[in-house]
Symmetry: C2
Subunit: 262 residues, 2 copies
């Protein structure tokens, strides 16, 4: 399996602290050593980094840890390969353009029986995750309109997620740079940090940060992750089937959508 | 305007030497200080770096200069903005997926009268370059088949390039990771390095490399650039309207396609 990390914030914020914790799990405190990737939105643009090395030992990961890249939405993934070789084309997050925006996707899980329908978007690599992403975008392109409200798009994402969850493990991060959609079948947790900010200690590395010195009073920054990254904060654990739509650091909508046993 | 750099090689090769020379022109020996980007194919995957800082002073560019990333096809661009703000979304190279492969594009020039037809691929940023890229892919998707021979695709690219060249300056780099298509209206030069390899000295930085120590006898590595990067090698200058299709370091086809004055 893999681990996921995302951020939603109301002001451009760097991911160095959380990224440092997560990447230790790629070959050091965890087994997810088959590559990693991260995408940072900057306005409508996206800055991506992908590597097939274990994130705990990757020089490129070290650059991302120590080079603060400020973003309102970021998505990160460390991989433990099951479907698909270890190669750059199979490294999340994946990205495509839809309606003049970049959409970014990362997934944890496996849907071994998934058979994608042919469509405009096609996977480049061999993972079921990328095929799922293409399937979601093909669905949105055919069933939705570029001017649809986010509530309409979200309802389609919830229904697709529910259908996929009936076929296996499907923990999802998806963004168009404005909002961030998250869905959990097995493991996901979030934390929202806002004033008064305090210190936090990473679980996977000997690092403490004092958010008070790195923020301004109006900042709202949420982190969503497979397993909590800090030992001294109170993380909000997702229920199985729970989805949350994040926007500027806050949950804008949420619900539970569990597929019925066949 | 901007400057372009590409590499085509028959074995994975790093771009550190040429990239070091080109990036000096982004705010040091040249005025192209409005961002830079580079894409390296690794198999069917692509590793990209984009930055809005001047390449001569960019920490990320320094990482790419000193962190050898080996690739058979790479495309790089340093920007001097004319159309479109200075922001990440306007930074070349641009990338889209077509027929299950990533296509990468960079452009030098300006086609101020260009009016793109609506199509599947849409620009995310505000440059005419990205709109041109989307127009080319929309054309290929509608007029060609995924199984068409490279000669068929090339003929479409030549005709589209010729049409664009009739509207302004259009120096082009385009790849699907297998071949590299290049077209010149004003400035482009190439060099093919193969055994016996010798030393070369950059024009823009005090750097000499001895390719003999960095290669094996069967290597063939070509570099295509807006203006020659070295002072002691014999660069092959493109004619106006000249196109060359590169594959594994060699020119597989070439010709001249100049649009007639209206």
């Amino acid at each position: 399996m893999c681990e996921l990390l995302a951020m939603s914030a109301n002001t451009p914020t760097d991911l160095c602290f959380s990224f440092t914790g997560l990447t230790r799990r790629g070959g050091d405190t965890g087994p997810h050593k088959d590559g990693w990737g991260v995408a940072f939105y900057e306005g409508k643009g996206v800055r991506t980094f992908h590597d097939v090395d274990a994130s705990a030992n990757s020089r490129l990961a070290e650059v991302v840890q120590t080079h603060p890249i400020k973003s309102e939405v970021a998505i990160c993934h460390i991989r433990q390969a099951n479907v698909g070789d270890i190669c750059l084309a199979n490294t999340h997050p994946f990205m495509r353009e839809l309606w003049g925006r970049y959409w970014v996707f990362a997934h944890n899980g496996q849907l071994s029986e998934f058979q994608p329908s042919p469509g405009f978007y096609e996977p480049v690599g061999g993972t079921d995750s990328e095929a799922l992403f293409c399937d979601i975008l093909n669905h949105l392109r055919h069933r939705c309109d570029r001017n649809d409200a986010v509530e309409v798009i979200t309802e389609h994402l919830v229904q697709r997620s529910k259908a996929f969850a009936g076929q296996g493990v499907f923990n999802l991060l998806l963004s168009n740079g404005d909002w961030l959609f998250t869905y959990c079948t097995t493991k996901m947790a979030s934390i929202t940090r806002r004033a008064p900010f305090g210190p936090a200690r990473l679980k996977d590395a000997d690092v403490i940060v004092d958010f008070e010195s790195e923020t301004t009073p109006g900042d709202i920054v949420s982190v969503i992750v497979t397993e909590p990254l800090t030992t001294d904060e109170d993380w909000d654990i997702y229920q199985p089937g729970e989805w949350r739509l994040w926007h500027k650091g806050l949950v804008e909508a949420k619900g539970i959508a569990v597929s019925e046993p066949a």
